[in-house]
Symmetry: C2
Subunit: 116 residues, 2 copies
Amino acid sequence: MYICPMYSSELIKGTLKTVILKLLSDTKQMYGYEITQKVKELTDSKIVITEGALYPLLHQLEAEGVVTTETVNIGKRIRKYYTLTQTGNERAKEKIYEFADFIQTMNILLDLKPSV
Amino acid sequence: MYICPMYSSELIKGTLKTVILKLLSDTKQMYGYEITQKVKELTDSKIVITEGALYPLLHQLEAEGVVTTETVNIGKRIRKYYTLTQTGNERAKEKIYEFADFIQTMNILLDLKPSV
DNA sequence: CAAATATACATAAGTTATTTATGTATAAGC
DNA sequence: GCTTATACATAAATAACTTATGTATATTTG
């Protein structure tokens, strides 16, 4: 049986922000580790977000005012929940729309059928 | 009227190789400048390949044995035509398949309809 | 109950791939 | 004649990620 491996990193690069914004626009509040697990689960491990990529990006999004954070104590450990701001919601819509448009263009370029 | 600008470079990054391999698998022989123009035309200027990105990649593909080259004199100018090797044809199919698969996964992740 | 794995954050060095800038030169259009 | 288009090439700077490392608690498994 064929097991589809992870996509080449060059392909995944650049979609990270869009994916995170989408998840946050669906779930309101998520913490970093939760995001990595959700993406892994939804993509059957074809997209795996590493911590080194995720955390710096989340910090950047916070600095830009796209998300706000709330730190919660879970026993003696901490969790940092991220929530989209209004700006963040708009940004999420834009990025998702852009990607949908991009897919259309790539479908034409690569002669893929719309349903593929 | 809304004019869709170029996609963010982060989105385009990583699809360059796939796009070039696809064009070469369709047209057999193309030269660098021709590739940039074809992509610009097919994507309505939403994807524009810069020379600084294109030529190093073509040279790399040649070094890997994915393409062979033939230099032709056009008047006093030169053109360097690129042709896929057999390895190159396989590579092209793989990359195109990988991207099609990637799109499917992203459609699920981003809740896009298959036809979008 | 000890060890391994999972949860949960964070950052820094190294790598890779692009962008931007620069360079050379001929051909075509105005 | 000047500007734009054709046509190649490379190098420095930048951006973004991978890999590695660090800290620490919680849970599972043998």
